[in-house]
Structure formats: C-alpha cells, structure tokens
C-alpha cells in the first residue's frame, strides 16, 4: 500500500502549519521564502523576471480581443471558435497554461453569459492574462451564481428581464471566454479597429464592448 503513504492528509491542526512561522509583513514574508529558494538553487531569479514580464507585458486581454474581433469579421472562424475554441485560439498562437481546454460561449439577443470561479480563481490566462482583483474577490465568487443580475448592475450592466443569464462556474480545467455581440454601427471597421472595442469585462460577461460614439 505504498500509495497510502502519499496521501496528503487533512490538515486538522493549525499549529502544525509551517506558514504560521512567517513574518507578519507580507512583503518580508515573500522576501524570506524567495531568498531561501534562490539560495537553495530551487528557483532562478531570471525565471521569475521572465514570468512576471510575460504576464505584465505580453499576455493579457489584448489577446482575447483579437480572437473576438476575428470572430466578428470572419464567419468561418467564428464557427471554428464555437465548435473547438482551443484549436481556433491556437490559430492566433494563444495557447497553453490555464487555457489548455477552451470553450467560447456566445452572447446573443436572447442569452447573456457570465464567467466565474466560485472555488478559486480559474481564468483563461492565454487570452485574458492574470485575473483582476474583483474576479478573485469573495464578493464576486459568492454572489455571481446566486444573483448575477445584481452583480452585473454593479458593473453598470443592466439586462432586460427577457434575456436569459447563463453563469458558467469554472469548476474543472475548462476555461471560458465570452464572445460578446458586435456593437451596432461598426460595419465599416476592420479587425484591428474592432479589437480596440473589446474590453476585458466584455469577455468575462461583466461588461459590453465599447460603443461607437
């Protein structure tokens, strides 16, 4: 029964937790653990820099906006995107960590989709980057499944009572992206201009794309 030995037990005893030895200032806490791991040769500071730079400057909602804009102008792409989002998104070279299994859900005049993760903070990194603070907040995690319409109102989004709200709780390794409706009056805009209208919130379902003034 060697497997049994590997069971990670239930942590019943708070005094056993190593983390209780950490300093009270979170900045010092991180510094202590980081320095220890660096000195033990378990992590590389250049790797940390590369990771942070990647998600601060290269991977973010601009990626998702390009996917959405392409779907708005290219009906064949939209079909592929709704049928197999992972492959369609990979066509634009967005793939990998926290986006291994993508599903795109389409907003229509009848249906409005909203994404949440009630259990932690699951979020489609390759197309949206690292989740914003509100997405990870207790308030968003607890309330969105029970009262999505009230939550959306706080984002300034008021939905007609005839529209059905579908909330997608990311409880497994599927990551969701909302395909918002293309704003009116954008018929003459090209893909690049359209991408500028696509906001992060519109791809989570807590907002709409920018409108043409």
């Amino acid at each position: 029964m060697s497997e049994k030995k590997n069971i990670i037990g239930d942590h019943h005893h708070p005094h056993d937790h190593a983390h209780s030895h950490l300093p009270s200032d979170p900045e010092l806490r991180v510094k202590a653990v980081e320095t220890l791991l660096l000195n033990k040769g378990l992590i590389d500071s250049k790797t940390l820099d590369e990771l942070i730079d990647t998600y601060e400057n290269r991977i973010g909602p601009k990626n998702g906006a390009k996917v959405v804009a392409k779907a708005w102008v290219d009906p064949e792409y939209k079909k592929r995107l709704l049928n197999d989002a992972t492959s369609a998104i990979r066509e634009l070279s967005y793939q990998g960590r926290q986006g291994e299994n993508m599903v795109v859900v389409e907003n229509t005049p009848e249906t409005h989709n909203v994404i949440v993760c009630t259990l932690c903070s699951c979020y489609p990194w390759p197309v949206l980057g690292i989740p914003p603070t509100w997405y990870k907040s207790d308030e968003y995690r607890s309330r969105t499944v029970r009262e999505p319409r009230k939550v959306l109102l706080e984002f300034g989004l008021s939905l007609d009572s005839k529209v059905q709200v579908k909330v997608w709780d990311s409880t497994a390794e599927i990551r969701y992206l909302v395909l918002p409706m293309r704003p009116k009056g954008t018929e003459n805009m090209d893909e690049r201009e359209l991408a500028e209208l696509v906001t992060r919130n519109s791809m989570i379902g807590t907002g709409l794309p920018k409108e043409i003034k």
């Binding site: 590997n6 069971i7 239930d10 942590h11 708070p14 937790h17 190593a18 983390h19 030895h21 950490l22 300093p23 979170p26 900045e27 806490r29 202590a32 653990v33 320095t35 220890l36 791991l37 660096l38 000195n39 033990k40 378990l42 992590i43 250049k46 940390l48 590369e50 990771l51 942070i52 990647t54 601060e56 909602p61 990998g96 960590r97 291994e100 299994n101 009630t118 259990l119 690292i130 509100w134 308030e139 968003y140 995690r141 607890s142 499944v145 029970r146 319409r149 984002f155 300034g156 059905q164 709200v165 579908k166 909330v167 709780d169 409880t171 497994a172 390794e173 599927i174 919130n201 907002g207």
Partner: protein
C-alpha cells in the same frame, strides 16, 4: 459540509470591488500586479511548482486547507504564499529550521542572497530559457483512456450530497456545496480528465468523464432565484452525478 473556499451562493458579502476611474465610471484598467510582492508570490509559486513535487490539484487543496481564520484574513497572494510554504516543508524541499532561519534574518534585516557561484543549482530547476516553452505547453488534464461516458447529453442527473470525496473525509472536491443534491441536465461531455478528488491526495490521476451540467436558478436558489429561467452551468466529473430516478 464544505470549506471556506467553497463560497458560491453564500450570504453576507458586499459590493463587488469594481475599479472606477476619476469620473467614478467602471474601468477595465487594473495593473496586473498591484504590488511587487504580489508578482513575486505568484512567480515563486509557479517556479516552485515546476520542480514537479506536486500537481495543480494538490496546490489548490493546500490553499483550501489553510485554517479558516487565515483563509479569511489573508489576501489572495498571502494565501498563495502560505500554501506554498506548507508545501515546501511537507515535500521536504525546505526544512522548518531553514525557514525559521530565513524568517529571522528577514525580520532582522540581515537576509542575504548568495552570489551565483555559491548556489548549488537543483537539477529540477525551471530555467528562464524554458519559460515560454513550458507556458505554451501548459498542463493538459485530458487523458486518452478507454473509459466511456455513462450519461448522454440531455440526461437528467442529480448531484451527490454531503461528501463527494469518497476517499478522504473533508478531502478535495470540485463539486461546490451550492450544487450538491441538485437536479440538472447534461449539457455536454468534455472527454476524460484527471480526477481532482484523487489527484489532490496523491492517489493517482484516475481520469474520468467530465460533463458540463446545467442547473436552473430555481433549482439552486428556490424562491430567491432572480429569474426562474436563468441558469448556472458547472463542469462536473461522473462520480459527482447519478441518473435522476424516473
């Protein structure tokens, strides 16, 4: 029965902390990391995870297992750091004495980073040159197995109640409490995925059919539902479900 992280549907939380601009209008802008230490806590968690001593489900379970008073008081990245610290000790990558030594030095202001030549690099270390490759590959949870799904699209199913994790009492599960013992309809079948209830406890991957199941708001919230016809969809593994008795 659940843990604090399983907060879907609970009462008591206030307004969503929606960022607003100087004109008090909702803004989409927010820095990726608000503080330098946020980015560091996040990055060292990813880098330490790449050593291969634990999987994603284990690290999630460690965050969930923080004592309730800590889970409530810690900010997001403090939870990450606390769970990482506990993993480092439990997996023996770091000893408690070493940790205490570094904490002591941090508090005294005598923390010292070794020069590169004094560091003995661990064989498993994640190098900067491999970062993009590893991120691009990700960690797929789909497994090719010969397990066929029991349920069909459109089947009416009822979720497990009380303790979905059959191996470990209070163990990791991805069936939220608000959706336990509820009736829904199979919306789609999404191949076979590593089963977190076992994988989070080192009991193997046990890939099993994963379904998206749709629940009507009225089924989840009764009279409190904002609108009867709204729905919530969850991704649930086969053992969480049984066919609704006709």
């Amino acid at each position: 029965m659940s843990r604090l992280h399983d907060m879907g549907g609970r009462f008591g939380d206030g307004l969503i902390p929606v960022p607003r601009d100087e004109k008090n209008e909702v803004t989409n802008f927010e820095p990726t990391f608000k503080h330098k230490w946020h980015s560091k806590a996040w990055a060292i968690t990813l880098a330490a995870g790449a050593l291969g001593e634990w999987n994603l489900d284990i690290s999630r379970h460690y965050r969930e297992c923080l004592p309730p008073k800590d889970y409530i008081n810690f900010s997001y990245y403090e939870k990450w750091l606390a769970a990482l610290t506990n993993l480092l000790i439990d997996k023996k990558l770091v000893s408690l004495d070493e940790l205490k030594e570094y904490v002591f030095a941090a508090e005294k202001g005598t923390l010292r980073k070794f020069s590169d030549k004094d560091v003995k690099i661990d064989q498993r270390i994640w190098l900067a040159k491999d970062v993009q490759k590893t991120l691009g590959w990700g960690g797929p949870s789909i497994r090719d197995t010969n397990v066929n799904p029991v349920f069909n699209i459109g089947d009416k199913v009822i979720t497990q109640n009380y303790n979905p994790n059959k191996d470990i009492s209070g163990g990791h599960t991805r069936l939220p409490k608000y959706a336990m013992g509820r009736t829904g309809v199979i919306h789609s079948y999404n191949n076979n995925h590593v089963f977190p209830d076992k994988n989070a406890h080192g009991l193997g991957e046990n890939p099993l059919p994963l379904y998206t199941v749709e629940f009507k708001s009225s089924e989840l919230w009764g009279e409190l539902a904002e609108r009867q016809n709204d729905s919530v969809l969850l991704d649930l593994w086969e053992p969480y479900l049984k066919l609704f008795p006709n």
